[in-house]
Amino acid sequence: MIKHLPIFIVLAPLLGAVFAALTSWYRPKLSFPVVLSGLFISFLSSFCLIFKLLNSESGIIHYQLGGWGDKGEYGIVGIQITVDYLNSLILTAVTIISLLTAIFSSQSVNRELAGQQRYFFALFSLLVTGLLGITITGDIFNLYVFMEIAALSSYALIAYGKGRSYMASFNYLIMGTMGACLYLLGVGFVFVKTGTLNIENLSLLIPQTLQASQAVFVGFVLIIVGAWAKMAFFPMHGWLPNAYTYAPTASGALLAPLATKVSVYAMIRIMITVYSIDYVLKSPNIQTAALLLSSISILVGSFFSLTQTNLRKIACYFIVSEIGYMVGGAWLANDPGLKGAVYHIIADAAMTSALFMVIGCILFRTGQVELKKLDGLFYKMPITFIALVITMAALIGVPPTCGFFSKFYLIQGAAQAGTWHFAGALLISSLIKAVILFRIIEIGYNKVPNPAKEGNKTIPRDEAPLSMLIPTLIVTLSLIALGIFTDTLITDFIAKALPEIPAP
């Protein structure tokens, strides 16, 4: 049983999706508990796996699907699942956040998608399957398959919204398909040259014998650019703000924190495991370009967020800038930079999740999230408002929240590499987020629309229902908890996950 833990992580939500679709014919209300239990099993397995990993000596757990190639010959047929320090953390983050988001969504789906919710949770579960698959697989072709599973279900989840969501979803589809094609093409190049798709085999082959191969290099570039398109990295970020803004609350809350972050993980996996840091350092042109694009991405995301009036759009542009943080950190290709990038995947998943949940709560009660109409929000929904302020503080990087520590490592990495434009972009983006926080505070807290000052009347409190509020609070408090346990995360997981990096 314990031996089969890794596959449960992916299998549980997949079966959840299938059964949810089947039961919805019989009784639509059953699909939600089915999906929830699938996600819960997945969460438990990933949690247990962390302990198993910590106890194992090698620091890596292999699982051969169907026992193919159990004796060490992976060949091209055997499908391998690998869990190591790098992805175990991300797996746990994905399972926790998707479980909480599922609980969070039930009310908003019932209200927003009344009459249409039949397949929603089946798709929800399928998306989670795809994301977990990308994270856990030990095979670059399977990574593509799971990428497509995740992408196809997310196109549908976005198009569930009304009005502009169809167009937004279509834009996403075009961009996502292009990204997937580039990725697949890159995998093709690599396969032709190496004859294997297994990440571990590749990691033995490419850095040692195929350093100079042009085909492998082209494959590298294609794979990276494909991943960039998937994660909405500048200049391929155009699809993201609309897609996540016009999607239903529940889809946005699931997609925004997880989809892009998992693509970043895929990129880092390809960079450090398949190709090795040495290889990255030996392609200085791409490195320079990636770092420049990261800085631009951060600045573009931040400045555009400043011009928006809708809180959800602001949050979407935040994602664009945060993607720049992670890509930049990874491409600094030094120890603090990579640590910061991996840490930020976890931190940003939590931050974005908290932000979209808070927005969902506000949307549920007030029906809109235009910044100007949020006056007096503090008096109406005090808990939600405080959660919003904590989340924004984490995004700005106020200690002791997790956002501070990722920024600390990223800037340290930039300083070590001498990439000052990246450090500058990080600081500017922090300040811009601070400006947005002031706006939120001035509108939500200082504009008192009520007679509370003159008379003794107060605005009636009207918080979102508990099934939405509790997940929101858990994620928000985790921002502080993550920050306080930075040292544990870094030394016990992330430092072990990264290969040895030659000191400058």
Binding site: P399, F405, A423, L431, N446, T486
Partner: protein, 494 residues
């Protein structure tokens, strides 16, 4: 010698715990305010418990949790930190009495928030005083900025919001944009952020880098009000009088200069400072320019609170200039000027609030002759101004004595002259206020006919702090012993 003990952590935490209780007692104002006094007294008692050990040369340390490899959320209590914490907590008591006298009659509905944020601010000020490394200090520094924002915008009108915006933009921009990168560069260069006697830098670290870092820290801790990042301080004067008096004369601004003292002594190291003329020169020039300019601007202000604010900016630069002298007596003067100026300035701000309450006068030109109507308030004002100018028998004299000694020790005669000029300017902008209040004829007799002393709850705290101005003069030797312990750790490391 170091001794691990969790008391410092509890001292920091008590007022935050009080903040939680305060927000629960929204409907019972008497209990709410009793909690504040209780917290302040417990805090003082614990501080006093640490005092004998610190005077014996002990350093109390405590690490709560490791945040980064090699850097924890750690506390270390030394003489200067203890002195600063002691001053902030002691002055918290009269200011609370004053707040009760000011806010209760107005039936202000946000009082609970006011007291809760106030307590958190005290916690973070003490946290800065006790920090053992730069990261811990930075964390408390930021908490202080955020927790004082609701206090600055207490009135929640347009003016308050504008002042609050300026406040946060200045403080956050500088700390995130300058102090944070400087801290990261220090970590990247040395792998350590601990405050240590002799500093953390190795000998081969280039002087250029050190100078750049020093400037980043000086401006990064904008709470110290160095020009050109000083404009938040006059802007924050929209806050109610107790906020201006405790926070913008004592806790917040002193946290700024205290941070700079800590960084200069614990990160750069006094020896390194003394041996790098370019470094001390730049500190002295920045502080010297601010000192003179702020005093000149103060002279031209007619709004009493604005004049006090600019005077604060000038006095803060005394402290930074003292550090920049990099001599023992200069640093002693700087550390002593924190309590001395605190008690003087708090008296002045409390008086400014009381004058406004009693006569409705905001501008100095309206204050002719009011001394006869509110003699107690104006007497307190007079004593407070003596202390800030630095005339005996008030505490300001002692710290200026050490500062002037410091200029001669490090052969910076020009700084000696600047101190003297500035003291004259201080006298020029403070003494006429008290003089005219007592001896000039009121310009508008009818207006102040009915003016009388404000409520006793406001007068007593002012008299207490005014007496404090005299007491610190007579007990300055005890205070110097604390500073001496600090100097033994940081300034005499070789």
């Amino acid at each position: 010698m170091e001794e691990a003990q969790s008391t410092p952590f509890w001292i920091v935490l008590i007022s935050s715990m009080a903040a939680v209780l305060i927000s629960l007692c929204r409907r019972a104002p008497n209990i709410r305010e009793a909690i504040i006094f209780l917290a302040a007294i417990i805090k003082l008692a614990l501080l006093l418990m640490l005092a004998p050990g610190v005077l014996d040369g002990k350093l109390y340390t405590f690490t709560l949790i490791n945040l980064l490899p090699n850097v924890g959320l750690s506390f270390k209590v030394d003489g200067a930190g203890l002195l600063f914490a002691f001053v902030s907590v002691t002055l918290w008591i009269p200011v609370t009495i004053y707040s009760i006298g000011l806010l209760r009659p107005k039936n202000d509905l946000s009082q609970t928030r006011f007291y809760a944020c106030f307590s958190i601010a005290i916690s973070s000020a003490v946290g800065v005083a006790f920090s053992a490394n730069l990261l811990t200090m930075f964390i408390f520094y930021e908490i202080l900025s955020l927790s004082t924002y609701p206090l600055v915008t207490h009135n929640q009108d347009d003016e308050a919001i504008k002042g609050g915006r300026k406040y946060l933009i200045y403080l956050l921009t500088t700390s995130v944009g300058l102090a944070l990168p400087a801290m990261i560069i220090v970590y990247q260069q040395t792998g350590s952020l601990d405050f240590m006697g002799g500093g953390v830098f190795k000998d081969q670290t280039s002087n250029t880098l050190l100078t750049v870092l020093a400037v980043m820290f000086l401006y990064g801790f904008a709470k110290a009000g160095l020009m050109p990042f000083h404009a938040w301080l006059p802007g924050a004067m929209v806050a109610p009088a107790p906020v201006s008096s405790l926070l913008h004369a004592v806790a917040v601004v002193k946290v700024g200069v205290f941070s700079i003292i800590r960084v200069m002594t614990g990160i750069f190291g006094v020896d390194r400072l003394a041996n790098t003329p370019s470094l001390t020169m730049i500190i002295c020039i920045i502080a010297g320019i601010t000192l003179v300019t702020a005093s000149l601007i103060a002279l031209s202000q007619d709004n009493l609170k604005a004049r006090l604010a600019y005077s604060t900016i000038g006095q803060l630069s005394y402290i930074i200039l003292g550090v920049g002298l990099a001599s023992e007596s200069g640093i002693a003067g700087a550390a002593l000027h924190i309590p001395m100026h605190a008690v003087g300035k708090i008296t002045l701000f409390l008086c400014a609030g009381a004058i406004y309450e009693a006569c409705g006068a905001k501008y100095i030109s309206q204050m002719n002759g009011i001394g006869r109507k509110i003699p107690l308030t104006m007497t307190a004002f007079f004593l407070g101004s003596l202390c800030v100018i630095g005339l005996p028998p008030t505490g300001g004299f002692i710290s200026k004595w050490y500062l002037l000694n410091g200029t001669l020790d490090s052969n910076q005669q020009w700084a000696f002259v600047i101190f003297l000029i500035s003291s004259l300017l201080n006298a020029a902008y403070f003494l006429p206020i008290a003089y005219k209040a007592f001896f000039a004829l009121p310009s508008d007799e009818a207006k102040y006919n009915k003016a009388s002393e404000p409520s006793m709850l406001m007068v007593i705290p002012m008299l207490l702090t005014a007496t404090g101005c005299l007491l610190v003069f007579f007990f300055s030797n005890t205070m110097y012993q604390f500073v001496e312990q600090f100097l033994n750790v940081y300034a005499k490391s070789n």
